[in-house]
């Protein structure tokens, strides 16, 4: 049997928004209300389910180099990898494009204990939204409170942006990552480009 967690030739990969690369670039808004959108293509992702109080969770934390975040909205980063809280016993481990998905090492850490480790790298893609107007763009379609007092840098939540379910992850003062299911990526990208367009125009209060 082949190792299905191994990746294939990079040249054959195609990310869900590859066809919109130029359109995303063209949608960039500059100026005082700048905002830009790009795909962070083919990031590695692993779905992790485990009882956080179990010994396996401890071994997994060791493998990740960070304690599993324990509350809604929290993330934990170690090296280039970040673990996002998705539920009381569910996390998403994200590694940057090019990095291998840590499926095998996490599966080894889980061992025979209850839980699961599944490579979901292609299940979602990542959109990066950056710029002073990024929060305003998101506020057109996200019902959550995105004020930095409430949703700060390094926080991530499952929510809706427009009609699309996403994990929304704030990575900086003016930068966000959105992780939709791959099938929704095209629609989400078009929704975001539409929402961004007004910031290239003179401000109306």
């Amino acid at each position: 049997m082949a190792d299905l967690t191994a990746t294939g030739p990079a040249a054959l990969r195609r990310s869900p928004l590859a066809h919109l690369t130029d359109a995303l670039r063209a949608a960039t808004v500059t100026g005082p209300r700048a905002v830009a959108l790009a795909e962070w293509p083919c990031a590695a992702m692993v779905s992790l389910r485990v009882d956080p109080a179990s010994p396996a969770a401890g071994r997994i934390a060791q493998a990740l180099g960070a304690t599993l975040p324990a509350r809604c909205g929290r993330t934990a980063s170690a090296g280039s990898r970040t673990t996002l809280w998705l539920g009381p016993d569910e996390w998403l481990v994200v590694a940057p494009p090019g990095a291998p998905a840590p499926t095998a090492e996490l599966a080894a850490a889980l061992g025979e204990e209850p839980g699961s480790v599944v490579d979901v790298s292609a299940n979602r893609t990542v959109l990066e939204l950056r710029g002073p107007a990024a929060r305003q763009v998101l506020e057109k379609g996200c019902a959550l409170d995105l004020h930095p007092r409430v949703f700060g840098r390094g926080q991530a939540v499952s929510t809706l942006v427009g009609p699309v379910p996403v994990v929304l992850w704030r990575t900086g003062v003016d930068s966000y990552r959105l992780l939709p299911r791959s099938s929704f990526a095209d629609h989400l990208a078009r929704w975001l480009m539409d929402a961004m367009s007004e910031y290239a125009l003179p401000e109306v209060d």
Binding site: A2, H19, S121, D145, P163, S182, H187, E198
Partner: protein
Amino acid sequence: MTEQHRRLPHGGRIDRTTTLRFTLDGRELTGHPGDTVASAMLASGIIEVAPSLYRGRPRGIVAAGVDEPNALLQLAGPCSEGMLPATTVELYDGLAATTLSGRGRLDPTPDTAVYDKKYVHTDVLVIGAGPAGLAAAAAATGAGARVVLVDEQPETGGALLSEGDGDGTGSGEAARAWAAAARAALDAAPDTRVLTRTSAFGSYDGNYVLAVQRRTDHLGAGAPAGVSRQRLWHVRARQVVLATGAHERPLVFAGNDRPGVMLASAVRTYVNRYAVAPGARAVVATTNDSAYDTAADLHAAGVTVAAVVDSRPHLSTRAAEFADATGVPVSTASAVTGTAGAARLTGVTVRALDDEGQPAGPGRSFACDLLAVSGGWSPAVHLHSQRQGALRWDADRAAFVPGGPVDDQQSAGAARGTYDLAGCLADGAQAGARAAAAAGHPGAPAPDEPPPWAAGSAGPGTVRPLWLIPGDDGDEDTHFVDLQRDVTVADMRRSTGAGMRDAEHVKRYTSLGTAGDQGKTSGVNAIGVIGTLLGVSSPGALGTTTYRAPYTPVAFAALAGRERGALFAPERRTAVHDWHVGRGAVFEDVGQWKRPRYYPRPGEDMDRAVIRECRAAREGVAFMDASTLGKIEIRGADAGEFLNRIYTNGFKKLKPGFARYGVMCTADGMIFDDGVTLRLADDRYFMTTTTGNAAAVLDWLEEWLQTEWPELDVMCTSVTEQWTTVAVVGPRSRDVIARLAPALDVSNDAFPFMAFRETTLAGGVPARVCRISFSGELAYEINVSAWYGHAVWEQTEEAGRPFGITPYGTEAMHVLRAEKGFIIVGQDTDGTVTPQDAGMPWVVSRLKDFVGKRSFSRPDTAREDRKHLVGLLPADRRTRLSEGTQIIGRGVPVTPEDGPVPMLGHITSSYYSPALGRPFALALVAGGRDLAGRTLIAVDGDELVPVEVHSPVLYDPEGTKRDG
């Protein structure tokens, strides 16, 4: 051009240096920035608008805000809009409008303007930016709270914008200077947002408030394209302060609808805010002190005030002050009982009132072209009441005021009956500080001493309400209560005469309060009139009608926002989508997914394309994008036990490396979903679900795991989009797989039906290849990471090229599966079909328990005459019956005279079968399994088509094609 001969030489919030041109009912007029259409009309001496809706009576501008009942406009534009009060439409250059008789026109032209939405959270939401609202927002901002302040007007300041200098102290100007400074401080605060031109129209549980912002209309032709015209704000606030002000009530007397009769506060607004004299000679009729501010400002503006007519028996302090200062005669214990004029008002009749409020003594006539009326004030309790906040009748104020709390809300200023400016400022500051503290931000700065200008308007004082002023001839047919609906006291008397006692009943009997203005000027007056007619002393004993959202009309387009056209609903796409588009696929919607339905070649219609695609699958090889199937990884020591409980058939003993078709039922024993599940390892399964049910199945699994069987060691992970699934189908599919996956032994012995293998494809992509068939043919499904989906799809086509591989869509898939009697859940089943009904008793285990099993022992699920899935062949070999066609017995009469026709069932799937060379159908037919070989009748429109009943498996019932 009509010169603006009614424009006052000084003052007002208008920019006299810029002239705006507009047309009204075809007349060319001018105005200035800062004007509304109504104020510009009045500046040109135009008070009259289109006649009334039902009675055709002359009507004029009555109000200066959202309460306007008469002056309704149809605005020209790329998409014309109707029923806009002229008192709320800001003037812009080039505006063109017609006045309406109470009914607008829907423009069939698609509205291409942009509408959008915005979500905002705040500690304190203040609604209304008058003195109370500004003070509340300032206090909450000072405490460090996040604040949103909304106001429907283009400028903040509320009633302060209408304050005058009639007392000669310059208090109006001072008030506006205070408002401007308060606004500037709010604008400078980083966490405070002020939204003008924004109407909070709906208030919902949990302090969720909807407000619509008019962003670009006032810019006219200068409105930038691409910026939303209106924006719907979804506000979630920890605390809400309602500083929504109050509406003045008109008076109900004979001929009170004549153009020239205006609300006294509106007259004051036109004089002070817009620098317009709405008339040359005025009479003021009032029940309270507030109209004296109007009278004083008119007098100061040089308009002759012929008389003030006051219902109260004694001269109030304010009235005496006014009379002393101006020399205008004030008649106490008096009322206007009638009006004169052809259309516009030319005079009024005034009579003294006795203690009961009945006219007594002779009538006196006053010539005037303007009658400013004040029947008292009604706090704008709409948003409070929308949240089921109680109301209480306050006899002193003659008004319904908030009488019970709403969680985390408070009213301030005129909205709760505090009318004097000093009181409004104090009220607002306290409410803002309390709200901020309740939201976690105590420490609002101590409020300032009331500024001197706040002594300017002291409010209505003591009120002597006059609900119904009898006319001179006993007639009540021109005593208008609701001007927009043309409802008079005579109409109301008919309803009380018919036995109605409740305001809600009278409202529906007369249509009072149901127009676009939603009774803002008529609601409380109507209750007063009903009380008078019924002899009920206090309106409080009758209560109000229900206040519902929206407070002011909202365009459906604003509610829709961007959810139109391409952004209406999300489209889910597979990794191969662009290839399908490139091949000219015609798509169909399956749930939110876009799936290729067929790939027409030039000149082909759907039927011909589908026949070609079916033939390729049955005779050569074809391939299809099956990526939309739901996929769930299930892991845990108890995964097998769990699946045994979920599926009607067994999965615990399935060997790793093999796959099995399974059916799951709901607790009532009805088919819920189906699909093939692979056993990847002892503790890992890979489930597939139907495309449309993927999320529902995952929810179902989680519900059982979390609520019923938490002791099971099982975890479910949705991996639908992780995998691209390419189905390769047909007698030559083995050849294609052999080329695509050279490392795989594809012989039937080494790779049997319902087995799967993991391999690396020729191109280097790891893959899981299954031998699964949804067509009866030899078939494979190749699963690869969706990153490689597009590449592997193209590789499959390349590998299949020597064999003429053909892409096929869902329509051919349906034909192929239906020929084999394979069901589609949700098409051939509808939540009332058991696996046995669907012809699959073999899939229901007798050895183990599973969800739905107990329901199979119910007598109803064992009935012999349940509807069974059968195959039907139209006897004429030609008719393709419509899905949904009813099935009846032979010889059953179908004429109306013969009464109801007993229905045996209906067709669930119907196609033309290239393999059979004739159309066929699947149907659910009562007792159908026992009718094989019989002929029934399909009622296809007017045609009665004989159909032969067969087993649902019409193609290759022996299964000879499965292994190639």
